[in-house]
């Protein structure tokens, strides 16, 4: 189905589906992190997103900013490590940019996601090719924006973003890590997909899946 707007239920569904995906993929994310990090990305994301969904279910948000600020603060305070501040800042900035609305149109969602990316860059200081979540987030949002030039349908833009996200995720395998704990491995970081890039790809998979539902 096509969507010119995305409402609060769908956005809540996005976060819930992301929780489901990181939970299903917990071993895969941990395996990736064992190779070049400290083997906690799967459990950290599962714990963090679990707390996010629990909080939403306990007190559903009334507006988009409330939803994402709540999700961001929950991640920041429950995860620790680097993924807590990075994902937390991503959602916090989405909330701040979206404002107290009940739904977002395509340009509104694009602007909110872009602000989220800017927040991740400000927090983590990553650049293209550093082998981080940036290498998925940036090309995915570029694809999202490009798709919206052709049509105002959020569903097809999300599909384009997910496709770019998968390409970006797979491309991190050949990269040399220049940020985070993986960077201490130097050349030994080559040949492994970045765990943060993998979880970020799940974020776009979740968005595509939730928008595809009737």
């Amino acid at each position: 189905m096509t969507n010119d707007t995305i409402n609060l239920d769908q956005l809540t569904g996005w976060l819930t589906r992301f929780r489901d995906l990181v939970t299903e993929q917990v071993s895969y994310l941990t395996e990736l992190d064992s190779a070049i990090g400290d083997a906690d990305h799967g459990s950290n994301m599962t714990r963090g997103m679990g707390a996010v969904v629990e909080k939403i279910q306990a007190s559903p948000a009334g507006t988009v900013d409330e939803l994402f600020k709540g999700a961001g603060m929950t991640l920041v305070t429950s995860v620790g490590g680097a993924s807590g501040p990075l994902y937390g800042t991503f959602f916090l900035r989405i909330g701040t940019t979206a404002g107290p609305v009940a739904s977002l149109d395509a340009p509104g969602l694009a602007a909110a996601l872009r602000a989220g990316l800017d927040g991740v860059v400000a927090r983590g200081k990553a650049e293209a090719g550093d082998k981080t979540m940036y290498d998925v987030l940036a090309p995915a949002l570029d694809a999202f924006d490009a798709a919206l030039l052709a049509s105002s349908d959020i569903t097809s833009a999300a599909a384009a973003a997910y496709s770019a996200a998968q390409t970006g995720r797979d491309a991190t395998e050949a990269l040399l890590a220049r940020k985070g704990r993986a960077s201490y491995l130097g050349e030994r970081s080559i040949g492994h997909i970045d765990p943060g890039a993998a979880s970020t790809s799940l974020l776009f998979q979740a968005l595509t899946e939730i928008l595809g539902e009737e």
Binding site: D40, G80, G81, A82, L176, G180, Y184
Partner: protein, 332 residues
């Protein structure tokens, strides 16, 4: 995995219960996982706050007390604490003179402390200064990595900056002393065995019987290279030479620490200290003060690290000042 625990999930909470029971001179906030001095910060004294993942004890909680830290935020084992902990601790320890955050240079620690300081600024207006410790010479190509890791110098910095705060210096002066220590301290470590993170249940890395990892980090991060096990004299040379190549320590008094990583007996640390002194004597380095023991550990990892700090009269005077913590105590 054989450990003295109830379950991997409760290691941190259970250990904080033990800290509170053993140390009436400390106050433990079990909800926020913060260790404070039992007495509130003296009015006008700059407060020192540090913290990080646990598993490095006595760092940081064992250094809370007169002459060192005012509070330490505890994260899960090898995982940074979260910004809400730093915000809460900052609010509690500030006496109006400001708070110095002492952060080891790891991506997670830096980001979480940064967010904690931002929240403190937004909510309270408390003046916060930050010093990031990055003294590990094992990380060579720091331009292309997350930078050098914060290791042994953290211990010396918390002691010296703590004494400066106790003396009544203001926030800018305490932060300046802390930065001087960071810029003048260098460390290098060696692992003879891996550590086992309770939640992982198995060793972080494999090291064969006849091997050692030179330049290992305090979380089991890889070092510069893996080489055949050698005698203490050769290991001392492998640790001290890269430190001396990185900074000129001649012509100044130094403070030298040989630190155990958690699984090495003290008698071996003294064997190492003897060999480290021989290397330093041969290089014409003056050792003014020494510290040998387990101060910044990596759970049950066998091995040690060497830290050398280029001091001056002011730093030595601050080093000698009284300190009364569970991990470091003299002069009182």
């Amino acid at each position: 995995m054989k450990k003295l625990i109830n379950s991997p999930e409760t290691v941190l909470a259970d250990s904080l219960v033990g800290v509170a029971a053993a140390h009436p001179e400390l106050r433990v906030d079990h909800v926020n996982r913060i260790i404070y001095r039992a007495d509130p910060t003296r009015a006008g004294k700059v407060a020192l706050l540090s913290g990080g993942g646990t598993g490095h004890e006595p760092l940081h909680g064992g250094f809370v007390g007169v002459g060192m830290l005012d509070a330490a935020c505890a994260g899960a084992v090898f995982t940074s604490p979260t910004p809400d902990q730093m915000l809460e601790a900052t609010k509690v320890v500030d006496s109006g003179a400001g708070v110095l955050h002492i952060v080891k240079n790891y991506t997670g620690d830096v980001m979480n402390f940064e967010m904690g300081a931002e929240l403190a600024a937004a909510e309270t207006g408390i003046e916060v200064a930050v010093v990031v410790v990055n003294d590990d010479v094992a990380v060579e190509d720091s331009t292309f990595t997350a930078g050098r890791r914060g290791v042994g110098t953290t211990v010396l910095l918390e002691k010296i900056a703590g004494a400066a705060a106790e003396e009544g210096r203001d926030l800018a002066a305490v932060a300046a002393v802390a930065r001087q220590v960071n810029e003048s301290g260098r460390s290098m470590g060696v692992a003879l065995s891996s550590c086992t993170v309770p939640a992982a249940g198995k060793p972080t890395f494999e090291l064969a019987e006849g091997e050692m990892e030179i330049g290992v980090g305090i979380h089991g991060e890889p070092g510069r290279r893996r080489v055949p096990l050698a005698g203490a004299a050769e290991i001392a040379r492998l640790l001290v030479e890269p430190i001396l190549a990185d900074l000129d320590f001649t012509g100044a008094p130094t403070i030298v620490m040989v630190n155990g990583l958690g699984g090495t007996p003290l008698i071996e640390l003294y064997v190492m200290y003897a060999e480290v002194r021989k290397v330093l004597d041969a290089a014409g380095i003056t050792v003014a003060r020494s510290l040998v023991g387990n101060y910044i550990t990596a759970l049950d990892m066998a091995g040690c690290s060497v830290t050398i700090l280029k001091a001056d009269d002011d730093l030595l005077q601050l080093w000698d000042a009284p300190v009364n913590t569970s991990g470091l105590r003299w002069g009182m």
